[in-house]
Structures are given as C-alpha cells and as structure tokens.
C-alpha cells in the first residue's frame, strides 16, 4: 500500500490533492479569502450605514449615490454573499441528512445568493445613475 517514500497516500491521490473529502481545499480557501476581504469591507459598510438611522431618502442617497460607495458596496455584496453561501452550505451539509431536502436547500441558497447579489448591485447602479 505504501508508496516509494513510505507514505500511505497513493501517488495518484497525492497528485490530485483532493484529500479525504474528495473536493480539495477550494471551499475552505474561498471562505478564508472572502473572510479577509470582509474585514475592511464590512467595517466600511457598518461605519457608513450607522449614520443612516432615521434619515430621509435625500440624505441616504448622498452617501449611497457616490461612485465610491457603488464600487465598495458592490464588492461588499459580492464578498458577503459568497461568504454567506459557503457558510450556509456547511451548515446545511452538517445538519440535513435527507438527500432530497439537503439538495433542495443547497439549490435555494445558491440561487438566492446570485439573485440577491444581482438585485443589490442593480439597485446600487440605479441609485448612482438616477440619484434622488
């Protein structure tokens, strides 16, 4: 069973680099990349949104309608939704064991993620272009 180097992993398994879960580190790595990106992005988001308590639309648009906000909010939405989809996927896979239910929930989470990202960015574009 052991290969030439005395390692119990087969050469094919080592080259594929997919590990025991058969899917490699792509999910884990994407979760970390988005986590690191979200440290500055989420702090920017919260420090902006905190000043929009009870304000009217014109005041909100002053912040939301700037091109800088459009860019950063789009990045925030993409990173946070990507991160959330990956996280919800793990929660679903851990707790839901009925295959049909699990698959359905995973599909809903994936589709909802793409739909929310698209809707959020379109809303931001409309705010920036058409303003108040």
């Amino acid at each position: 069973m052991a290969n030439a180097k005395g390692n119990l992993r087969s050469d094919l398994g080592r080259v594929r680099g997919l590990g025991s879960a058969k899917e490699g580190v792509a999910h884990w790595w994407a979760q970390r990349i988005t986590a690191i990106a979200l440290i500055p992005l989420s702090l920017w988001f919260v420090s902006g949104i905190v000043f929009l308590i009870d304000v009217d639309r014109a005041s909100a648009i002053r912040w939301l309608g700037s091109p800088v906000t459009l860019g950063l909010m789009s990045l925030f939405l993409i990173a946070v939704i990507y991160h959330a989809v990956l996280g919800l996927q793990v929660i679903i896979e851990d707790y839901i064991h009925t295959h049909a239910v699990k698959l359905t929930l995973l599909l809903i989470v994936q589709f909802a993620g793409f739909a929310l990202a698209a809707a959020g960015i379109v809303a931001m574009l409309l705010i920036t272009i058409y303003g108040g």
């Binding site: 970390r32 986590a35 690191i36 979200l38 440290i39 989420s42 702090l43 919260v46 905190v50 000043f51 308590i53 009870d54 304000v55 009217d56 639309r57 005041s59 909100a60 648009i61 939301l64 909010m73 939405l77 946070v80 939704i81 959330a84 996280g87 919800l88 929660i91 909802a112 929310l116 809707a119 959020g120 379109v122 809303a123 931001m124 409309l126 705010i127 058409y130």
Partner: protein, 131 residues
Amino acid sequence: MASHPRPLSPHLQIYRPQLTAITSILHRITGGFLAVGILPLVVWLGAAACGTEAFDQGQALAGSIIGRTLLFFWTGAFFYHLLNGIRHLAWDAGWGFELPTAYRTGYAVLIGTVILTLAAWALGYWARGNV
C-alpha cells in the same frame, strides 16, 4: 459491543459548557443570522432605488421596535462574527491554540463584541441627534 463497558462520551445536555465550545457554536449561529440579514439589506437598497415612498416605508420598518431590536442583534452578531472570525484566521495561521491563549482570546471576543456593539449604537444615535 455491550460486553465492553467502555465509558461513553457525555451527551451534550450533561456536558459542562466550555468557553471554547460556546464561542464555536456562536460563530455558526451569528453567521447564519447575519446571512439572513442580507435579504433585508438588499430590499432596503431596492427601496432606496425605487423612490421616496418606498424608502420611507423601509426606514419606518427599520425604525420600529421590532426593526431596531433585530438591527441591534445584527450589530452584535456582526461584531462577534468579525472578532471571532479574526480569531479563527489566527488559528488558521497556527497561532493561539494553547488553552490559556484560546480562553484569553475567547473572552476578548465576547468583551469586544459588547463594547463595539454599544459604541456603534451610541455613534448612530449621536449622529442622529446632530444631523
């Protein structure tokens, strides 16, 4: 199987709660809760894009008792997940696994969450009074 009276690991309900386990499950719970919050965020952005009437309705909903309570818990969940997430990234880098360190960082996350959540709301209300 029954002929080997080996000790069973204690069931979750009688297992003494430990800070490390509590901070771990809280990370998952706050993450799920924050993920749910993306929906109202996008709806709120949509309302801002639609016009004054829709936006005012959104602001009224966010400003209601239920809205404010949810937003307060979302703020707390955010700062917890942020701080504990940084703790997780440190673990990923191989730092902080020693038990005393893990407890120290765990308490730091909890205390930091309370401080930052209250500070964010104080800042928000202060700004509201000054605008």
